[in-house]
Symmetry: C2
């Protein structure tokens, strides 16, 4: 069906040498004389030879494809991480196959199996919120396919990960709010079963403690990453006698919902209530009232994840050590929490 491609045999016939020699010449094998190598190279380009990556992959077991599994591709955070991975891996000749789990463990498992089946050289993933079981990950490891977690990990022996220091992020965000003079800081948390949300929460608590501010359970509301969820949280918080003077949300969408609801109630931001979000989604910057948010350095995260992967496959020795990288968050301070002088370090 497809147009006939030129193979090393065509080259070998034309030059009256063996296909083996052609292959070696093209691969710069030192056993080949410089003369032959040059001749082969020249002829190859002349004949418009293109290596068949399939045959090559079949022979040596490496496809030069890697898979990425994320909950959603159209979340700014994830697409930026993917771009980071791409920037590191494309120059090395890798191709990236992207899959979405839609936050469903079932899909995640399916996608992972499909990737393994398609002979991927490695897998990058951010586990879905509903993932509990680690069997699929172990299966990948058994097949000697390196897995690198980013952002959301799950503990599996031998699996490397690149994550944010979420504890520090929670700590920083809270510290910033306290620095603005806030005393009654509420926290909109995500599902505490996910490490990342747990850590943000712990960072929040730790910073309260540092400043001898009493931790109150009633100020912590579990939210999803939906705008409505943030609105409901405000609804609930404003039923309290002692209302908060700050909101630290573990997600930008919930923060946005909270802000909309607060405005609705005529509450002034940041004068009466300061708000900090999480993820530095693009919209946080574009709002009429730009939202302070924690940046997870997604580009960096992707690049480092890619580097970790490369180390694992380059290291011919099977010493592929489990590597745990933790990145530092950056707080982008914007109007939603700036009671003091205008902060110049606003992200662009």
């Amino acid at each position: 069906m497809k147009k006939d491609k030129v193979t090393i045999y065509d080259i070998s016939k034309k030059l009256n040498i063996s296909a083996a020699t052609v292959s070696r010449a093209l691969n710069n094998n030192p056993k080949i004389s410089e003369k032959t190598r040059a001749l082969v190279a020249k002829t190859a380009t002349e004949m418009n030879y293109k290596q068949n990556r399939l045959a090559q992959a079949l022979k040596n077991g490496r496809t030069n494809n890697v898979g990425v599994i994320v909950p959603y591709i159209n979340r700014s955070f994830f697409s930026s991480v993917i771009r980071g991975i791409e920037e590191e891996l494309t120059p090395q000749g890798y191709h990236i196959i992207i899959c979405q789990s839609h936050e469903e463990a079932e899909n995640e498992i399916e996608q992972l199996n499909a990737l393994l089946n398609t002979q991927i050289d490695g897998i990058f993933m951010s586990v879905s919120k509903t993932t509990q079981n680690t069997d699929h990950i172990k299966k990948a490891m058994e097949e000697q396919t390196p897995v690198v977690f980013f952002d959301r990990k799950i503990d599996v022996e031998g699996v490397s990960s690149v994550v944010l220091d979420d504890f520090k992020a929670g700590f920083m965000a809270t510290e910033h709010l306290i620095d603005q003079g806030c005393k009654k800081i509420a926290h909109l948390s995500g599902d505490i079963n996910l490490e990342i949300y747990k850590n943000r929460y712990e960072g929040y608590k730790a910073d309260l403690q540092k400043y001898d501010i009493e931790y109150k359970d009633e100020l912590v509301i579990n939210t999803s990453s939906k705008i409505e969820s943030g609105m409901q949280a405000i609804d609930e918080l404003w039923k309290l006698k002692d209302k908060p003077d700050a909101i630290f949300s573990a997600g930008d969408y919930a923060a946005l919902g909270a802000i909309q609801e607060l405005k609705q109630r005529g509450i002034k931001i940041p004068e009466e209530v300061c708000v900090v979000g999480f993820s530095n989604e693009p919209f946080t910057k574009y709002m009429e009232l730009p939202i302070t948010s924690v940046d997870q350095t997604p580009l960096m995260m992707g690049k480092i994840a890619a580097q970790v992967f490369l180390e694992q496959v380059k290291g011919d020795q099977a010493l592929s050590i489990e590597k745990k990288v933790v990145l530092s968050p950056e707080l982008f301070i914007r109007d939603s929490s700036s009671r003091k002088i205008l902060n110049l370090s606003d992200g662009v």
Copy 2:
């Protein structure tokens, strides 16, 4: 290196039948007796056999991988189209390799060649703004690799496309503004060399004509898809003696910039000036002043592009007809242009 996989030979040995029979049984070839087929199927699952897609691909020339080339992966529009493609193609056993051109023709060519080299079964692409030459597309066609353009196309014989009716979109948007009572409608256009922007512009002009409103060149400003670009456009427009009372922007980011600049100048939206954007980026909905925008039905676009592709590869006959699909835009009317009663059909 990799753990030994079980092959059809292992199955054939175990059952004392030939590998050919195993292959046929697994592929539901009618030449195989029901008994044998069942036995093979059972044994295959028992032995945890997984088909080697590489070997299969090498043999029959199809990889079941398709490539997608977009300018940027983290634009809501593009990631949604990709998701649409994915939803159609994943159930068919395809995998999707995603590449970014970063709006550079050079990258686009490179990525396309890499995809061809990696033996892709088809290519979906939205051409970069800087693409002029069509040689790379022709090359793909020569290699019998179907190409489907979406949104941004370029004319190449035999290449199918799925695009928005941008003329209609421009017409609709303008009509809506006129309907709000606007008489002096400015247009923030993209690069008119790109078909999509040209068509939006033509639609705008056509609607003005329909209502006998004089077209004025000075009301059309060329902008990029940057916020700043929208601000500058307002800057320029407000130097005119006769200032516009509406803005139809061919991009949401420029619309956002325009709104910010208008507010800066104390101009009331929508009372004094109505604004309509294009693309229905998520942020348009989240703004304090939600922005009216044209939705390009990206999910649908992706799905249809996938269907067009499937038709081309399924139709064994080489009759692969060039197919041109044009989708209808939807206008999501929001506060930035609603002078009349609150529109209930606001997108969610």
